[in-house]
């Protein structure tokens, strides 16, 4: 589909994940001249993967640290704190149906924490942890799929996929939010520097 305006969401994602406004600027310039929205989205995804992949590779030990912090937070706050303490308490004071929403909050905080602790490579580190979460999700999802195929528990696969996907998105959301204030300040400073006297 052709459109004069570059896709806003894709532009926003490139700005956030690449941390370099010139990348989105170049894509907008090329899009204006001859390209479609699908071209822009494809370029945006390549840019996000290339920018983050390059930073993850260059800062391998920082990536290991980010994953370790995320894992530790998940082990202590989510697996012990939420499941053992908050969940039983929540069921006695509030409708149990609302718990899945509350359960996403620590994932959001986890992403925010990883982002805050790994500046200026926040988004790359958050993305690395997201990839780690997806890889870690493979065995339980596979097991649930096998059970569903065997007819043992058909709903388990839907629950597994839904809960893990929402956790990853909540975590990425927290990570992206943690870069928001930093990004705005950097952009304001850049604009001020570039403004003619």
């Amino acid at each position: 589909m052709r459109s004069d305006r570059a896709p806003v969401v894709a532009t926003w994602l490139v700005d956030r994940f690449c941390g370099e406004p010139a990348v989105a600027g170049d894509l907008i310039e090329e899009h204006r001249e001859r390209h479609s929205s699908s071209w822009f989205w494809k370029q945006a995804i390549i840019a996000i993967v290339a920018c983050s992949g390059s930073r993850i590779w260059e800062h391998r030990w920082l990536t290991v640290r980010a994953i370790a912090i995320g894992w530790l937070f998940a082990a202590v706050v989510i697996r012990v704190g939420m499941r053992e303490i908050v969940h039983p308490w929540w069921d006695t004071v509030a409708p149990p149906a609302l718990y899945p929403l509350i359960a996403l909050l620590p994932w959001f905080v986890n992403g925010w924490l990883i982002g805050r602790l790994h500046r200026p490579y926040s988004t790359a580190m958050v993305l690395a942890y997201a990839v780690w979460l997806v890889i870690r999700s493979a065995p339980p999802v596979y097991e649930a799929a096998i059970n569903a195929l065997a007819g043992a528990d058909p709903d388990a696969i839907v629950f597994e996929l839904w809960s893990r996907a929402t956790s990853v998105f909540a975590m990425i959301g927290g990570g992206v939010l943690s870069t928001y204030s930093v990004y705005s300040i950097t952009r304001r400073r850049r604009s001020a520097r570039l403004r003619p006297a």
Binding site: L27, E30, I46, A50, R193
Partner: protein, 109 residues
């Protein structure tokens, strides 16, 4: 041989910068590569390569003025450094040595 090695895309980006003959930003660099090699290179990949090259000291960059047709975003102009030029020469020598005594199809002469 230097400690830092040039990847295929990194070498192409440096050569594109040499061909353009002035400070260039992402769009002309990717167009030059596409024009000379017949292969489209994503702008994001070009920037990732430029970022690595800048860290290695092979290119330097400076921000231009923001423009409305780019959504208010500035261009980042890149220029090859002296170290970068030397690295291209080293890569050329290495590739020439590897090609020596090989026929046009890559067979041993």
């Amino acid at each position: 041989m230097g400690k830092e090695h040039l990847g295929n895309l990194e070498l192409m980006v440096l050569l594109a910068l040499l061909r353009v003959r002035k400070a260039a930003y992402g769009v002309p660099i990717s167009r030059e590569i596409a024009q000379q090699t017949g292969r489209d290179v994503a702008i994001g990949s070009v920037y990732a390569a430029l970022e690595r090259l800048e860290r290695k000291g092979f290119v330097s960059s400076a921000l231009g003025d923001p423009s409305p047709e780019r959504g208010g975003r500035a261009k980042r102009y890149f220029q090859i450094t002296g170290t970068g030029i030397r690295e291209v020469q080293v890569a050329q020598r290495m590739l020439t040595n590897m090609w020596r005594n090989l026929g046009p199809q890559g067979e041993s002469a």
